[in-house]
Amino acid sequence: MTSASPAQRSLLAARRWRAWEPLLWLAAFAAPLLLPSHALIVNEIAIVALFAVSLDLVLGYTGIVSLGHAAFFGMGAYSAALFAKYVMPDPLVGLAVGIAAATVLGALFSVTIQRGSDLTRLMVTLGAALILLELANKLDWLTGGADGLQGVIMGPLLGRFEFGLSGRTAAWYSLTVLLVLFFLARRLVESPLGATFKAIRDNRLRAMAIGIPVGSRLAVSYTLAAGLAGAAGALLAQTTGFASLDLFEFHRSADVMLMLVVGGTGWLYGGVAGAVVFKLMQDALSAMTPQYWTFWLGLFLVVLVLVGRDRLIRPWTWFGKGRRP
């Protein structure tokens, strides 16, 4: 048997699971057990982390600036909620329905993001979310309108595990879904398809010049990300028993973008890290009046950009210039 080519060795080495990863996931799964009063926030963090990872796929890996990713989050939530309320309350089937609905919506809207400049893309993604917000608002006989969709009672998971008040089942459910989808996303970004996404992100002109069908790849990335966001939305509706209009609002899309930026784009754990930091900070600061939160958030964004996003995680570069371009 001939020895492996050096190129192959390098490529495969890059994708090995690092030692700290299993520990991180173990800790995550242990949290609802060890900190039972915090099971609810663990659930929230898992859901928001999945949402952020889905945005990372389009933003961090494919370079599509989307300000309307909440459209798919909300779509997944409402689809799963309506399914549970009117068809059957099984969580896993409902999850599948939520994912399917969001994926179809994503495929539909993926037509809009293929051409035009960043501004155009910003506009159509923003417009998409606002349209859904309007629709959900106007179709109030179906969605409950401004009051939201209430009374979503879920059946037991896998026929055995009830969603109790403690939130532990919910937290483990969300964490499991997060882990499975995270694993799939990881295979995707390390595959040739994922590499073509990164190529499109880095240099669309050159990607075209090496034979990559840029338009259809953009659509694929956007559609897959929509499905992941839909999963997160479905989990939210199922574990809180409620779906509301604010899931479509601009601040949801802006928040998830911020989380991703804080944690680092182009790195799947960036979404997870950002979600953890954001949620914990939001929880701690929610004692303050809402005005303060918005102000400090804004200031943080301004400083973040002025300092440079990639310097944030390397504090030793904060002072003094001389970075290699």
């Binding site: 809009t112 155009t120 506009m123 417009g127 309007e134 102000f295 804004g298 002025l306």
Partner: protein, 291 residues
């Protein structure tokens, strides 16, 4: 129906004045500035403060709002915006959202979150009606005033762009920044004055529009989408493009909310998306210009 058209035109012209600064900034500096609405809000609140605290007559507030917002724009351009021109669009989006958040929160803190009421002078209140029955044209005097002011500004802008040296420097810089600099045009000065002027216009629009659109701390986030629609559909390579787009948007919005209230905003957004799919560079793009 004519009244709807009239109201739509007034709304559209107001949107144009508010958004034209954003269009030029996008075309000139290729900078996505989502905080543009904050300058409009500044103009509105300057007017409110001047009228309520210092008893300044409304008409005098307008140029002062322009000046105030313009000055704010000039300062921010020089200090915060300029280092960011070459950053990726995502960074610009994040930065300007951050600024907008800060403006919204600070205004809420200092001025409270209720809507501000502006007392219009006597001669601007009231209404004139022409015609009868279905073809009645009801012209609110204030809306007439808005149309007049905005039309005058538009003509002035066209003149400056087409006939003055500054205008040609501006157009050259929009077409190709590097070549313009090579020709000896001081691009920094062009940027600064254009940004300040555009912000000033937004401030003026905010002052004019406070009565019609409502003025409260959430103004920048509520209306930025309308400004962006004007810019995206109208394109950034002329000012007639955004003008037409703003008029279309104004009329569509007013008509939509009147005739089909159930679907009002939905129609506007869908139209916008369809237009952008059909013509990603905007509806009114000059041929041969930089995309």
């Amino acid at each position: 129906m004519l009244t709807i058209l009239f109201d739509g035109i007034a709304y559209g012209m107001l949107l144009f004045i508010l958004a034209v600064g954003l269009a030029v900034t996008m075309g000139l500096m290729n900078f996505i500035n989502l905080a543009h609405g904050a300058f409009a809000m500044a103009g509105g609140y300057i007017t409110v403060l001047l009228m309520q605290r210092l008893d300044v007559p409304f008409l005098w507030c307008l140029p002062l709002a322009f000046a105030g917002a313009g000055l704010l724009g000039a300062v921010l351009e020089r200090t915060l915006y300029r280092p960011l021109y070459h950053k990726p669009h995502l960074d610009q989006v994040l930065f300007s959202i951050g600024l907008a958040f800060m403006a919204v929160a600070a205004t809420d803190y200092f001025m409270g979150s209720t809507q501000q009421i502006i007392q219009l002078p006597e001669f601007l209140r009231g209404r004139t009606e022409l015609g009868t029955g279905d073809w009645t044209l009801g012209m609110g005097h204030y809306r007439l005033f808005i149309i007049a002011v905005c039309a005058a500004l538009t003509v002035g802008l066209q003149y400056v762009l087409a006939r003055t040296r500054f205008g040609s420097r501006l157009r050259a810089s929009v077409d190709d920044q590097r070549v313009a600099a090579g020709l000896g045009i001081n691009v920094n000065v062009v940027f600064l004055s254009t940004f300040a002027f555009g912000s000033g216009l937004a401030g003026l629009g905010g002052a004019l529009g406070a009565e019609v659109l409502g003025l409260d701390p959430t103004f920048p986030l509520k209306f930025i989408i309308y400004f962006l629609v004007v810019v995206a559909v109208g394109g950034t390579s002329s000012i007639t493009g955004p003008l037409l787009a703003a008029l279309m948007l104004g009329i569509a919005d007013v008509a939509g909310k009147y005739y089909i209230p159930k679907l009002g905003a939905f129609i506007v957004y869908s139209l916008m998306i369809l237009i952008l799919i059909w013509r990603p560079q905007g509806l009114f793009v000059r041929n041969g210009g930089k995309a």
